[in-house]
């Protein structure tokens, strides 16, 4: 037990690294009032196989959920935890080779290599029933539904803003910036040897996630349907004032010294060390990582905050299902039904609540009395519905996010400018 702290830190490091393969890492399982028609049916005598991402290599919440299901129903589940960096490739290969698991974990939408929708389009995923459809949060339909059929079941909501070390900020005499101008002032005022943010600049996806967080108030607060318009071709990144402002914000932050020294070459260790040691007050990581950081650093107080809006604008943020569970279309009939029964069981409020607590997310139905303390600062935003899905999930291919991330990395190192970075994102979208 004496090794628990370091172990957790290592786990957090691995968890933070997961966006390198596409998106976010931690997940929970949301509750639903609609689940319950199967509820661990005794008819589900067949066992099934279940593949999921296991970032830390340790105890996985998916495994715990599977164990609980087996204990409750007697149905055997053969699990397979795969490392995140090769997860998408491995599952695709298994699906094409005919040896994929009956139940699989994916990312919603089509925007990264773990995404479920391209697989659904190719006929590898079994359509699901009404109970799964009812779990999809409003505005997230295109991440789970294709041609009127639901292909995956959402599990949780993961808010994405910035993770804030409230304890270290108090010690440094810095309050959560109310708007962007205040944030720039705070960047300049924060003490010697400290920075307002820790950035893993050598990992393009961390720069990308930061850009996502900034775009919430610069692009999507005003126009939540911006992605749809881009898909129609009526707008573009290069011509978007919001996206230009977003990238200009990154440049302004860099010039104001908001990041740690040597941020352009920093890795995820810079984030974990900076946040846990208090040398950085915030970082751009998935909201659920705040829970893990808090567990790894006894006495520290972490919370999730929205990225400061431009002066005079209202706060806004992203929150969307992080993972999606889907059933193999080519599974044996008995195993397929067993997997579908499991999904119905997992959707039941009491089961999803346990899973949400294990993973550190927010219930799929929105904040409730079980909301983790780290989300208290954004509870009002979530309750008011002032959020939209993480944009990259509904982008048409992984190259779009990669182009944005790489372009922002180039802004930090002085290799490019805003127009060329946004033009590259448009080009990736149109591939």
């Amino acid at each position: 037990m004496t090794q628990r702290g370091p172990w957790r830190l290592r786990r957090v490091s691995v968890l933070l690294a997961a966006p390198a393969v596409g998106a976010l890492t931690l997940t929970g399982c949301g509750g639903s009032e609609s689940g319950g028609e199967a509820g661990g049916s005794a008819a589900a005598a067949d066992g099934f196989t279940f593949t999921f991402e296991n970032a830390s290599g340790g105890e996985s919440p998916w495994q715990l959920l599977a164990d609980e299901y087996t204990a409750a129903t007697g149905v055997e589940i053969e699990t397979q935890g795969l490392p995140p960096d090769s997860y998408g490739l491995t599952v695709r290969t298994q699906l094409q080779g005919g040896n994929a698991s009956d139940l699989m974990m994916f990312s919603p939408g089509a925007g990264n290599s773990n995404a479920v929708m391209p697989l659904a389009e190719a006929g590898y995923i079994e359509p699901l029933g009404e109970s799964s459809t009812e779990l999809i949060p409003e505005g997230n339909e295109d991440l789970f539904v294709l041609d009127g059929k639901t292909y995956a079941q959402p599990t949780d909501l993961v808010p994405v803003g910035m993770v804030w070390n409230a304890g270290a900020a108090t010690e440094a005499g810095v309050e959560v910036p109310g708007d962007f101008d205040a944030m720039i002032e705070a960047c300049k005022a924060v003490g010697e040897g400290k920075s307002l943010f820790a950035l893993a600049g050598s990992v393009p996806q961390n720069a990308g996630l930061m850009t996502m967080s900034i775009s919430a108030t610069r692009v999507y607060a005003e126009d939540p349907d911006w992605n749809s318009k881009r898909a129609e071709g009526s707008v573009s990144f290069a011509d978007s004032k919001g996206w230009q402002d977003t990238l200009q914000t990154v440049v302004d932050m860099n010039e104001a010294g908001c990041f740690q020294d040597g941020a352009a070459g920093g890795g995820f260790d810079a984030i974990t060390q900076g946040l846990t040691q208090g040398s950085a007050l915030g970082a751009f990581v998935p909201g659920a990582a705040a829970t893990e950081l808090a567990k790894a650093t006894p006495g520290a107080k972490f919370e999730v905050e929205p990225f400061p809006a431009p002066t005079g604008a209202d706060p806004y943020m992203f929150a969307s299902p992080n993972y999606a569970l889907a059933v193999n279309a080519k599974a044996e009939p008995g195993a397929k039904q067993a997997a579908i029964d499991f999904l119905a069981w997992a959707a039941q409020p009491e089961n999803s609540r346990t899973f949400t607590e294990l993973q550190g997310g927010v219930a799929i139905t929105g904040p409730d009395e079980n909301l983790a303390p780290v989300y208290a600062p954004v509870a009002d935003l979530l309750e008011a519905g002032d959020y939209s899905p993480l944009p990259l999930l509904s982008w048409p291919n992984p190259g779009v996010y990669d182009a944005l991330s790489t372009g922002v990395q180039g802004l930090l190192t002085g290799q490019g400018d805003i127009p060329s970075a946004l033009a590259a994102v448009d080009a990736a979208w149109d591939q």
Binding site: S202, G262, G265, Q431
Partner: protein, 316 residues
């Protein structure tokens, strides 16, 4: 090993030269001792052809498709190749690949030859030094790269030394002007020992008597090196340069571990782009086109290099 001995008079090269031309030709057609039969190799040849060449050729077909790694695909002709040459980033990757390959070729061969010459004969501690210089070769390229990543870190020992002498720290691996040189340095540091060993083997074949005779005749160090050593180790030069050129063209591990291709693509090579496009971005067709291009480049440069380093004295 099976040996077949044919009966008959033994006629050597000497007798052939003495005038036994017809007999000699007959002997060349049917050697006295043969080991096995050519067709014994057929199963192995078939396996190599099937597993290696046929599979590779099959993969090359995807270079002309838009396959995303799952589902159906369409043949799109040369579109993937046009896209490669239209994309400045991919042209940059090609330039980086060539820079690393030729930089690696030159650095490892020059430094390796210098080390081999220094550790060839006279130095008493040469055996220990040979081991020390060769040790990095046996390490995993990834492990070596991660050690160097630590050294190059902003808070790492290299910047610590710079700070000690009053210089500003640098973001070595995040600086677009330095990162590629850092990768080249790590590649060369690890592999120079291998080249040194190849040249040491070559230098062992240089007759010391000829060198001594040349020295007695008044040839200086440079002339002995130029006219005796270099011609004698030409096969070693050919081997070392071929291996280093190919290794440089397909560099992957060091780039991925040190920079991941960054910052903003400044150290991307064709090999890392093949991986990124194929496995991270699910552009299998495009990745196959890049891989095919990389293969062709390696083939062309290997042939050119073989032509450049062949021993022309045998043809004279």
């Amino acid at each position: 090993m099976t040996a077949t001995i044919r009966k008959g008079p033994v006629v050597g090269e000497g007798s052939s030269a003495a005038g036994g031309g017809a007999v000699s030709r007959s002997r060349r057609a049917r050697p006295l001792i043969t080991y096995g039969r050519w067709w014994w190799a057929l199963p192995a040849i078939a396996m190599v052809a099937l597993v290696h060449y046929a599979a590779t050729a099959g993969g090359a077909v995807y270079a002309f498709t838009d396959w995303t790694g799952i589902g159906d695909f369409d043949f799109i002709g040369l579109d993937n190749f046009r896209r490669i040459f239209d994309d400045p980033k991919l042209i940059g990757s090609l330039k980086n690949t060539l820079f690393l390959a030729f930089g690696f070729l030159v650095l490892t061969n020059v430094v390796g030859l210098c080390l081999a010459l220094a550790l060839n004969r006279t130095l008493k501690s040469r055996y220990l030094l040979r081991v020390l210089f060769f040790m990095p070769v046996v390490l995993s390229p990834l492990a070596v790269s991660y050690v160097w990543k630590f050294i190059f870190d902003f808070k790492g020992p290299l910047n610590g030394v710079l700070g000690w002498v009053g210089m500003e720290p640098r973001t070595w691996l995040a600086d677009p002007t330095l990162a590629l040189w850092a990768v080249l340095l790590v590649m060369a540091w690890q592999t120079t020992g291998m080249v040194m060993v190849i040249f040491l083997a070559g230098l062992a074949t240089v007759p010391i008597e000829i060198e001594e005779a040349a020295a007695i005749d008044g040839a200086g160090t440079w002339r002995r090196f130029r006219h005796i050593t270099i011609p004698s180790i030409r096969p070693s030069i050919a081997i070392a340069s071929t291996l280093m050129l190919i290794q440089g063209l397909r560099v992957f591990d060091q780039v991925m571990a040190l920079t991941g291709g960054g910052p903003a693509g400044a150290t991307e090579t064709l090999a890392t782009q093949v991986y990124k496009q194929t496995f991270a971005l699910s552009n299998f067709g495009f990745g196959a086109a890049l891989a095919l291009l990389l293969t062709l480049i390696m083939l062309v440069f290997s042939v050119l290099q073989q032509v450049a380093t062949r021993d022309r004295s045998q043809g004279a």
